[in-house]
Amino acid sequence: MKNLFLIAYLDLKESLRAKWFVVYSLVFGGLIALFFIAGVTESQVMGFSGLSRLLLMYIQVTIVILPIFILITTVRSISGDRDNHILEYMLSFPISLRQYYWGKIIGRFITVYIPVIFAMIIAVLYGAFKGAQIPWSIFFLYTGLLFALSSAFLGIAFFISSFVKSSEIALGLAFFVWIFLLAFIDIALISLMMQQRFDEQLIIFIAMANPMEIFRVAAISLFDPELTVMGPVAFYILDSMSQSVFVALSIGYPLTLGLLFAYLGFKIFEKKDLV
């Protein structure tokens, strides 16, 4: 276990010093600051107001940029180390592949999760300071959703990283995954499929299989399920499933998906030539 935590700790330290981490933290911290400066908490649109509105806006932006940030910054972790011969040296010490791989994942998870959750905590603290009512149910739901979404894309990124031959290909693949999943959000491709009268079950299945879609629907599920901003699939899902079941699914499914991809990545890492 000591080696697992050693790898996680060193990866975390290395990441915290990296320029991408500074940009990453500034983007999420900056978003919150921007929302406050723009007076989002004072405005009221379609029934959302105060901190609820701010958190909802934050989560709507996060759903687009968090996956691509995680994919791009993580997808090179193994393939990049393999590319520039860091693996060749670091793995010449008596560390099991399991400890190395999962240690890297733990370190990287902490790195990508902390800024997004920290930005939200800052928002809540600042909101409380300004005397706004804190929507705890939304805060805890988003904490869980962000955890699950980060897990899903971290797992996918490590999976890609384990089998690609170069970091350029890894980056290209990561971008493709992001665009592909984004296109399946129901306001885009799914709507088109409905227009073309595709089978209803197929559309729902595709939507439910997409962690970004699940995240998006869950993020607004605590609000009025008849809101038009939700899109047709979200409306259908919330109409056919109880809210608590769907919230559990929206956290459990991406988490499982992430773990599954990470595990598959590990099996490939274990079976392939290391350098």
Binding site: K2, N3, L6, L10, K13, E14, R17, A18, N84, H85, I86, E88, Y89, M90, L91, S92, F93, P94, I95, S96, L97, K271, K272, D273, L274, V275
Partner: protein
């Protein structure tokens, strides 16, 4: 100590190691030579357990370096041809090595001093920001401090000035007893006094194996 039996490793259609069989024993210092692409680095990486062979096997003290990598690597020190661009600071790198391989930090400092590398002044610096020679000295200091039974050097003196090379060979002389010392080199004259066996490889095969 190291037993390579009928080892074949292919990359696509290219055969990098072609049915190689050889053994390395205690108190042997071996110069592994051959043209570029002869299979020297592939052989070393197979010994380190990095490659899954297409055929044959490598055993180190009877253990498979892929299946029992932790046990096997406890006894191997390795210095690659080019120091990798590790972003950890020297302090973090030493921490990684001392915890994972149970290497005494003071011993690393001792060998670094012997190699004329001032570790203390560079502890917070990233490893990749050191000069080529400093990086190589650091890796050599680590390899000696690890006190392994098997030491593998892949062109270790490429970045070293003549004085540093002398220091390196002097330290190796002091540490070669009861060990297997495996050099990949193109400059036999440099290691001539150190080695007692010369192996030439070509096109993935051992073409000559002499005791000297």
């Amino acid at each position: 100590m190291i037993k390579v039996s009928n080892l074949t490793k292919k990359f696509g259609s290219h055969i990098s190691l072609d049915n190689v069989t050889c053994e390395f024993h205690k108190n042997e210092s071996i110069a592994l030579m051959g043209a570029n692409g002869a299979g020297k680095t592939t052989l070393i990486r197979s010994i380190l357990g990095y490659y899954h062979p297409n055929n044959g096997e490598v055993l180190i003290d009877g253990k498979n370096p892929i299946k029992e990598r932790v046990e096997v690597l406890k006894n191997i020190s390795f210095v690659p041809q080019l120091p990798p661009p590790i972003k950890l600071s020297l302090d973090e790198l030493i921490q990684y090595i001392s915890i994972s391989a149970n290497v005494d930090k003071d011993l690393i400092s001792h060998y670094a001093d012997e190699m004329q590398l001032d570790i203390k002044a560079n502890l917070s610096k990233s490893f990749f920001k050191l000069s080529g020679g400093m990086k190589q000295k650091m890796l050599i200091a680590i390899s000696l401090a690890k006190k392994s039974d098997i030491i593998i050097y892949d062109e270790p003196t490429a970045n070293l000035d003549p004085k540093a090379r002398d220091d390196f060979y002097r330290l190796l002389k002091q540490n070669e007893n009861e060990k297997v010392l495996l050099f990949v080199t193109h400059r036999l004259e440099e290691v001539k006094d150190l080695v007692n066996r010369q192996i030439y490889m070509d096109l993935g095969k051992v073409v000559s194996d002499e005791i000297v």
